[in-house]
């Protein structure tokens, strides 16, 4: 009781503070999620405005005699002539480990019915990206568990890698598989009490998607036990354009908390095309001048300032990182459209998914020729670099020769061998969804195909061979895999052991 009385006394003392000047205005016009407010003479850009009824807004347009405010809440409760106040604060969201395993909205409010979010710290939604001096080069890998990506388009911690393709080509699946693999690695490191391993926490920002799709993704993450390491920030299509516009920035704020505290985080923006559409809607309602395709003139800055917040910071600043995987949906494979070209020029590479490959059965439908990672092998473990270094070149040659072979002419043995090898590599890289492959197993498989162990395996049985070899290695040669994972490089001894194991398997496999 004494504590309660003291608390009440402190709060009354706080309420007795001297009269402060408030900045007020009056709603002159309201509609389409935007309010025009007369007054608010001292309002600042992105300042939170208290609109009454527990609703806040964000000042986005500062005109001479009025302020344009986007409404973050139920705008049906607001009326013309309502008095509003400036709060003097920027929009902030709760951050911290208390959000892991939770599904929240743009303002950080829980949506999963599991009670309030445990968080003492808030971060501003809009923040300036880390400067040049604070950054350090990207060296540590993000193991997605998807062989085609880890081998040929490796992603590093602190990189921005765009995932771009038409609808239903597997963009979201790549991201969910990455999250599932991070959860697997995090759990394995916890179980082994590996102090050197740096866990990677994931944030999935759903912008403008169907609620059923978001529910499906959450169900997959729960089923694969990935939710404890993941924050899901949902701003579905039924959310207002203002919430959809702010959602990626709120997610970035949550990711920055991990980066600022020396941890690594991965953020997925699914997808930025819908984000640009939401921003276009807000800008048009605010009567800002429109440009190409009716997008506002600063749509590039919208995405550049968001993606620049993903970085790897130096040792002196905690050695944390925030990796971004933005998703862009193209129409009819047109990567030269406005928003896709904008985001391609901002990111450090792209993974391009083709509809044709998808329907040919190549899943993930990654176009190796058009995909690139500008960080490259600097973000690969040495063992992977050793086995996969020539893959891209081999596949490029295969594609050229395959086109040539269509004419049915007789080919010399070397050319035929290259074509056969290429077909087997493509078959090997096919992978079912939600089944990430550990790095050491990937290294063994790619090593096996490069050493010719699959040259006499029919193409339609390559997956059986892979499954058999994986089972053989994980049951009878588990120590070999552990050594590859530990040493991260293939010494001569390890290579010899790997070859011996593959020989042993090859003799018994039918």
């Amino acid at each position: 009781m004494t504590d309660l009385l003291q608390e009440i006394e402190v709060q009354i003392a706080g309420a007795k503070a001297a009269t402060a000047k408030q900045n007020v205005g009056v709603i002159r016009e309201i509609g389409d999620g935007v309010a025009r407010i007369e007054g608010l003479a001292d309002a600042m850009l992105n300042e939170m405005i208290d609109l009454g009824h527990g609703i806040t807004g964000l000042a986005l347009n500062l005109d001479e005699t009025e302020v344009g405010v986007i409404i973050l809440g139920d705008y049906t409760q607001l009326h013309e002539e309502d008095e509003v106040r400036a709060t003097g604060r920027l929009l902030q969201v709760p951050v911290g480990k208390g959000l892991l395993g939770r599904v929240v909205n743009t303002l950080g409010e829980p949506l999963d019915g599991k009670g309030p979010i445990k968080s003492d710290v808030t971060y501003p939604v809009e923040k300036i990206a880390p400067g040049i001096i604070r950054r350090s080069p990207v060296r540590q890998p993000v193991q997605t568990g998807i062989m085609a990506i880890d081998a040929m388009i490796p992603i590093g911690r602190g990189q921005r890698e765009l995932i771009i393709g038409d609808r239903s080509t597997g963009k979201t699946t790549i991201c969910t598989d990455t999250i599932i693999n991070q959860a697997r690695l995090n759990k394995a490191a916890e179980a082994a009490e590996d102090k050197e391993y740096r866990p990677l926490y994931c944030i999935y920002v759903a912008i403008g998607q169907k609620q059923s799709s978001i529910a499906q993704i959450i169900a997959v993450l729960e089923k694969t036990n990935a939710m404890p390491y993941t924050i899901v920030l949902a701003s579905p299509a039924s959310d207002s354009a203002a919430n959809q516009y702010l959602a990626p920035f709120a997610g970035a704020a949550m990711g920055e908390w991990f980066m600022d505290h020396g941890m690594d985080a991965l953020i997925i923006y699914d997808d930025l095309s819908k984000h640009a559409v939401a921003y276009r809607q807000i800008s048009l309602v605010l009567k800002r001048p429109s440009g190409r395709e009716a997008y506002p003139g600063d749509v590039f800055y919208l995405h550049s300032r968001l993606l620049e917040r993903a970085a790897r910071v130096g040792e002196k600043y905690g050695n944390g990182s925030l990796t971004a995987l933005p998703i862009i949906e193209t129409k009819a494979g047109d990567v030269s459209a406005y928003i896709p070209t904008n985001v391609i020029s901002i990111t450090d590479g792209q993974i391009y998914l083709e509809t044709d490959l998808f329907y040919q059965g190549v899943r993930p439908a990654i176009s190796v020729g058009l995909s690139v990672s500008r960080v490259g092998s600097a973000a690969q473990v040495k063992a992977m670099k050793q086995v996969a270094g020539q893959l891209k070149g081999d596949l490029a040659q295969f594609r050229e020769l395959a086109a040539f072979a269509q004419f049915g002419s007789e080919l010399d043995p070397k050319t035929q061998a290259q074509i056969d090898r290429g077909k087997r590599i493509i078959e090997l890289f096919k992978q079912p969804q939600h089944s990430p492959i550990p790095t050491e197993v990937q290294i063994a498989m790619i090593g096996a195909v490069q050493q010719g162990y699959m040259d006499d395996v029919p193409v339609d049985r390559v997956k059986d061979f892979q499954a058999g070899l994986t089972e053989f290695l994980t049951t009878r040669k588990i120590e070999l895999l552990r050594r590859i994972a530990r040493e991260k490089a293939l010494s001569e001894a390890l290579t010899a052991e790997l070859k011996a194991a593959a020989d042993q398997f090859r003799q018994t496999w039918k």
Binding site: A15, T19, Q22, N23, V24, E38, G39, L40, A41, D42
Partner: protein
């Protein structure tokens, strides 16, 4: 035909014409309004509407609405007026009104600035803190 933007620009130009030493001159304002009405040109009503809005906003910036729960004695009124003139300049005009809903204290509104020292505001703040 003039666009909305052109009309707004013209309204602003006419408003600036009505300012003398930073303060709105009533005679010029009446003159401008009469001239627009007499001209009877297309877009005149929209122009008048925008002009009226600018005059209203300027008037709000130079008018202090002082509300108190009880009637204020003359010396306090003078003190308030002096304080306002010191902060906002000599052109400020104070109007005093009684509002029992404040319970106690005073609320002063000048343009979009509000100084709310009323008991009602403090109770609301206390409620919000709890």
């Amino acid at each position: 035909m003039k666009t909305t933007r052109q009309i707004k620009r013209e309204a602003k130009r006419l408003f600036r014409f009505c300012l003398v030493n930073g303060l709105l001159d009533e005679a010029r304002t009446r003159q401008v309004v009469q001239r627009i009405i007499d001209a009877k040109r297309r877009g005149g009503l929209a122009l008048l509407s925008d002009f009226q809005r600018l005059v209203k906003l300027d008037s709000a910036r130079h008018t202090a609405k002082v509300e108190s729960a009880m009637p204020l004695p003359d010396d306090l009124r003078v003190s308030v007026q002096t304080g306002l003139a010191r902060t906002y300049g000599l052109g400020i005009h104070a109007s005093f009104a009684q509002n029992p809903e404040l319970i106690g204290g005073m609320r002063i509104k000048v343009g979009s600035d509000v100084y709310d020292g009323s008991v009602r505001a403090r109770l609301a703040e206390l409620e919000k803190n709890f």
